[in-house]
């Protein structure tokens, strides 16, 4: 979201406070969300893909709803109306290609209406085939999960992105030699993927409640949260939609304050710190060891202000529109161990991975035939979960190493806690709770996290490794 996006969203939802009844509020949030998927998507070099990526986001979400819906409830009038709107929106947008340049909602001129109709018809036929095969909806949910993960992998592995872009350039009639991974900049897909996987998984385990089409689409594509979260849970979001009432004056003010605070953090503090934050250029120009530490600390703060500021804006816009989004940060750099750090940094992402990776894996290992000791189970659980969290940010060795860094940190902290606990008779409890001990723990935790960002911020393993060596006085 740019400042313009934030301003217009704020004005739009502020207008809702004055006009909309609860019913219209839901409809408005749904319509704004769908339209925003197109509006927020930046321009990409692949011709007309600033139209096709948003259309695909919406298409995947519609398919996920059709597969996972509670069939015994049938289709309500509202479901049908919302479905019709969703189908007409791309057609309407494709007509905007006849408007003068710059009048389109999409970042570039949308494709011709004939093409949209052909693709739309294929989707509708697929939809009917899907309905006809309803008894295999469980299998379809698995296949859809595979598709979502497959697209995710293509977008995140550079070689695959370039290869796919080259293939698509063949279709659009553009030069294949210019294929680049940036061609596949699909707005919000990382977050859309996690929301869809959560829904599909809950459907497979029989936990997914009945959710209306309108609430489902708004959950996956909710405009403040589509770019960078937070990641809510569908049952919570849909109940908030059902009870969405206009905020009171004080709630509105709290939300508005939150937006201003977020904008300040993101566009003033984070963007200001970016000048001296760790990156490949800054690290190559820095000779002195203390300055390297300054770069790393500046990066740590920049990342926090950027992301937490963004979350403030998203939660703030949610608040003034009557939807309370979950929190993502809780003073993460003031925690006294790495475990509580991960309870307070990108919380909705960590909770997602706990629910769908760490907990099921630990449960399976705990109940499995192979009797493993608990330390080994903890180690396996942390390694798998944190590596996947790393890979979610990008499929590179740097993100894997960043994940492993935290997995090892979490494991060491766990063993240390067990070690101290076994000796609690010999060490007075006042020792742990003393201010000095807390201060030492806080500094250690922050520095551990900050050093971890060296893997996260730089583009190659060699560069990160050399930077870490140099930070501790080693010679390059």
């Amino acid at each position: 979201m740019t400042l313009i996006h934030i301003l217009i969203f704020t004005l739009l939802v502020s207008a809702l406070v004055l006009t909309a009844s609860q019913r219209w509020r839901r409809w408005s949030l749904f319509i704004i969300s769908l339209v925003s998927v197109y509006w927020l998507q930046p321009a990409v070099s692949l011709r007309q893909f600033s139209f096709w990526f948003p259309t695909a986001s919406i298409g995947l979400t519609v398919i996920a709803w059709l597969v996972t819906r509670h069939r015994e409830r049938g289709l309500s009038r509202e479901d049908l109306t919302a479905l019709l709107f969703t189908a007409l929106l791309p057609l309407l947008l494709s007509l905007s290609r006849f408007l003068p340049e710059g009048w389109q909602l999409t970042a570039s001129r949308p494709p011709s209406i004939y093409l949209v109709v052909i693709v739309g018809s294929i989707l509708v036929i697929l939809g009917f085939v899907g309905e006809w095969l309803a008894k295999w909806s469980r299998l379809m949910s698995v296949l859809l999960g595979v598709v979502v993960i497959g697209v995710f992998i293509v977008l995140k592995i550079e070689t695959l992105s370039v290869w796919t872009s080259s293939l698509l350039r063949g279709v659009t009639g553009q030069s294949r030699n210019l294929a680049a991974s940036t061609d596949l900049y699909w707005l919000g897909f990382s977050y859309i993927a996690l929301r869809l996987l959560h829904v599909l998984r809950d459907y497979q385990s029989g936990r997914l409640p009945a959710v209306s089409f309108l609430d489902f689409l708004t959950f996956v594509l909710f405009f403040p949260a589509i770019t960078a979260g937070p990641i809510d849970r569908v049952e919570k979001f849909s109940s908030k939609m059902q009870n969405a009432v206009a905020p009171t004056a004080s709630e509105y003010l709290t939300g508005a304050r939150r937006i201003v605070l977020g904008v300040f953090q993101k566009f003033v503090l984070a963007d200001g710190l970016a000048i001296i934050a760790l990156n490949s250029t800054n690290v190559a120009m820095t000779r002195s060891v203390p300055w390297l530490w300054v770069l790393v600390f500046a990066f740590s703060l920049r990342l926090y202000f950027d992301f937490s500021g963004y979350t403030d804006v998203a939660v703030g816009i949610g608040q003034i529109s009557g939807i309370q989004l979950p929190e993502n940060f809780d003073r993460p750099y003031f925690k006294t161990n790495i475990g509580t750090f991960w309870n307070s940094w990108h919380m909705t992402l960590a909770n997602w991975f706990r629910a769908y990776v760490f907990n099921p894996l630990t449960r399976a290992l705990r109940k499995g035939r192979l009797k493993m000791n608990s330390a080994l189970i903890i180690l396996i659980g942390q390694l798998v979960t944190m590596t996947l969290i790393g890979l979610w940010h990008g499929v590179t060795w740097n993100f894997v190493l960043w994940g492993l860094w935290h997995a090892v940190g979490l494991f060491i902290h766990n063993r240390w806690a067990v070690f101290l606990n076994a000796r609690r008779d010999r060490i007075p409890s006042a020792f742990y709770t003393s201010k000095a001990m807390r201060a030492v723990s806080l500094v250690l935790t922050f520095n551990f996290v900050a050093l971890g960002w060296v893997w996260f911020a730089l583009p190659s393993v060699q560069m990160s490794w050399e930077t870490l060596i140099r930070m501790f006085g080693g010679i390059r």
């Binding site: 936990r207 475990g339 769908y356 760490f358 099921p360 630990t362 449960r363 766990n414 606990n421």
Partner: protein, 79 residues
């Protein structure tokens, strides 16, 4: 029920039988019970009270204290 859970947490999870846990003391948000021990707690609840706590429910939002956990178990075992 609350006593049973408190004893399990102090003896099995914290390995400190002398540790008294108040029924309204935050378990998850405070970091007292880590994510690994939470899975053990869920398995214990399952075996002892025959109530399933799902992997997606092991968060401070669903229950953070022994009181809240006991309420969840009661609600599930009557339904």
């Amino acid at each position: 029920m609350q006593d049973q859970i408190a004893v399990f947490i102090s003896t099995e999870l914290l390995k400190d039988p002398t540790r008294k846990i108040a029924f309204d003391e935050p378990l998850i948000s405070s970091g007292l019970v880590d994510s690994f021990s939470l899975v053990d707690l869920a398995l214990f609840i399952e075996e002892t009270f025959d109530v399933r706590i799902d992997d997606t429910e092991l968060t401070a939002e669903v229950f953070d204290t022994i009181e809240e956990l006991a309420a969840l178990i009661s609600a599930r075992s009557t339904s």
